[in-house]
């Protein structure tokens, strides 16, 4: 760092809103739950892997819903599984976000013909971002995460609560 800049920094004031700082913190550390229901879980793994490298956006996986901010519903949700996913969602601490990954969790997808598949995870829990594809490529999921970050950036928690 430049010498004069380093000298000036301690006495510098930054003007921003509390909302902006909170949102910046939230969007920069979106820890997602290590959880995949079906095929999309493999692409979720690849997205977390070395090539797509989701870590660079501050998203790392956690094994416990108590430590996660983001639930990526990766894959088909059956009726038997739906209540468990709702419970997982409820176990997460606020603020929490949901990305619905792939056709199956968006709307039932290919398994719309089946008798045991939930037609869309949004019937059970609220969804922030839908990522289309069967399965979506890692690039598509990364884009979904960036869209979610932009969404969080515009949130006005304090204004709404007041």
């Amino acid at each position: 760092m430049h010498y004069t800049l380093r000298n000036k920094l301690p006495s510098t004031a930054l003007f921003t809103t509390v909302d902006a700082v909170l949102n910046w913190g939230r969007l920069s550390s979106l820890w997602y739950l290590l959880f995949g229901t079906a095929c999309c879980a493999i692409e979720l793994m690849q997205t977390g892997g070395p090539r797509a490298d989701l870590d660079r956006f501050g998203a790392v996986f956690r094994s416990s819903p108590r430590q996660s901010d983001l639930l990526i519903v990766a894959g088909t949700v059956t009726y038997k599984m739906a209540s468990r996913i709702k419970r997982l969602y409820e176990q997460m601490a606020d603020p929490k976000y949901v990305i619905s990954m792939g056709s199956c969790s968006n709307c039932g997808g290919l398994f719309d013909l089946g008798y045991s598949v939930l037609r869309g995870i949004d019937k059970v829990i609220p969804v922030d971002v839908y990522v289309p594809g069967c399965p979506p490529r890692p690039e598509a999921l990364t884009q979904g995460l960036l869209v979610l970050q932009e969404k969080i950036r515009k949130q006005r928690y304090l204004a709404r609560e007041a």
């Binding site: 229901t37 690849q46 059956t78 290919l110």
Partner: protein, 379 residues
């Protein structure tokens, strides 16, 4: 290592019931295990399956024969090509259809490439379950290269829908051969690197030596197939013993578990068989790329497939064991009944037999080494 004897010490302790899954990092998908625990030792284990029952077999009855092909991708999404292959074969058997030689070679090439990528996921996640996170990232990195190859071939990375009834969808692109050989050339050193990282790691070896041994008799009695069966020391591989497609025209060895660090049939043996199989698959792909003839890639098939009434069963060697399709036709354009038998289903059925007496941490090693996958169990 030996399983613990459960004895009542008269201390008035009670067994505890513990739910493992459906959301658990080491259950490999949505499977639940209900464990009865005596302290840290498992007294009984009960698998609760069906969290990913997507009614694939019922959907088969609603669709025409070719329309069902995308669904076979989802039977085992880590090895979709092998599932495509098996389904195409059973319909061809029912229709008594001849498939062009070139198509058969392409099928074997993609199936073996997919076997490598499936085993990479298997050994990578197995290391991850045991506590070694880095090898997982190495495996995922190498898997991307296979994904690139198959993407070049058919445009999809995971669910290919590439094999057709009567042939394959596309011919090999011009540069496929060079790229595939370049990949195979890099695979060998990468496997060596992987071995130094994980297989020769003393912690990993001693952690798995003699853990959760499946005896030869048990493996056969429970119908365990594939690498898990070979890990128990049974020399049985459909590709060699019941040869299909062009497997008789290539030479390869069938790796069998030999108790390298512990007893025959322990968790390490099952892991080691998969590492060896990747090398053999690489050999098969090399030979196929050399021997592949010119010619058509699709047989002449009618616009609407109407197999004669009757039934057919066909089994192929998929990465998770024998994949059997049983198809009943009533002469119409839709199957009357399709039954899919998978290797993971047999593998999960042996877990309650092996688990009692082992610590809960060893159960994770057992599940990881069996390489079960949820959609294959539930379908």
């Amino acid at each position: 290592m030996q399983p613990f004897e459960l004895t009542d010490l008269g201390a008035g302790t009670k067994e505890m019931m513990l739910n493992m899954g459906p959301q658990h990092p080491s259950t490999h998908g949505v499977i639940k295990f209900v464990l009865r625990m005596d302290g840290e030792v498992v007294a009984a284990l009960d698998p609760d399956v069906g969290f990913l029952h997507r009614s694939i077999e019922k959907i088969a009855e609603k669709l025409s024969y070719p329309d069902f092909m995308p669904y076979t991708d989802r039977v085992d999404y880590v090895a979709a090509m092998n599932c495509n292959f098996g389904y195409a074969r059973v319909v061809e058997k029912l229709m008594k259809m001849e498939v062009p030689k070139r198509a058969e070679y392409i099928r074997v090439i993609v199936a073996e490439l997919n076997r490598i990528s499936s085993h990479l996921v298997s050994v990578g996640t197995f290391g991850n379950d045991i506590g070694a996170v880095t090898p997982f990232l190495y495996a995922i990195r190498d898997r991307e290269l296979i994904n690139d190859l198959l993407e070049m071939l058919c445009g999809a990375r995971l669910t290919y829908n590439f094999v057709r009834i009567g042939g394959v969808a596309f011919d090999l692109p011009d540069t496929f051969k060079e790229k595939a050989i370049a990949f195979l050339d890099t695979l060998e050193p990468k496997l060596k690197e992987f071995n130094t990282l994980l297989s020769e790691n003393r912690i990993f070896r001693e952690r798995l030596a003699g853990v959760c041994v499946i005896s030869k008799e048990d493996a056969v009695a429970y119908g365990v197939t594939g690498p898990n069966l070979r890990g128990s020391g049974v020399d049985w591989d459909l590709r060699r013993d019941e040869p299909y497609s062009v497997y008789p025209e290539v030479s390869f060895e069938v790796p069998v578990g030999g108790g390298l660090v512990g007893k025959v049939g322990d968790a390490f043996d099952r892991y080691w068989v998969r590492i060896k199989e990747m090398q053999e698959s690489a050999k098969i792909v090399r030979q196929c790329l050399e021997q592949i003839p010119e010619g058509p890639i699709m047989a002449k098939i009618p616009r609407v497939l109407k197999p004669p009434a009757g039934d057919a069963f066909d089994r192929t060697e998929a990465p998770r064991g024998e994949l059997g399709y049983y198809l009943v036709s009533d002469g119409s354009s839709k199957p009357q009944r399709l039954k899919i038998r998978t290797g993971s289903f047999a593998a999960v059925s042996i877990i309650p037999k092996i688990a009692p007496g082992w610590m809960i941490a060893d159960i994770v090693a057992l599940i990881g080494s069996l390489d079960i996958i949820a959609p294959e169990i539930d379908r």
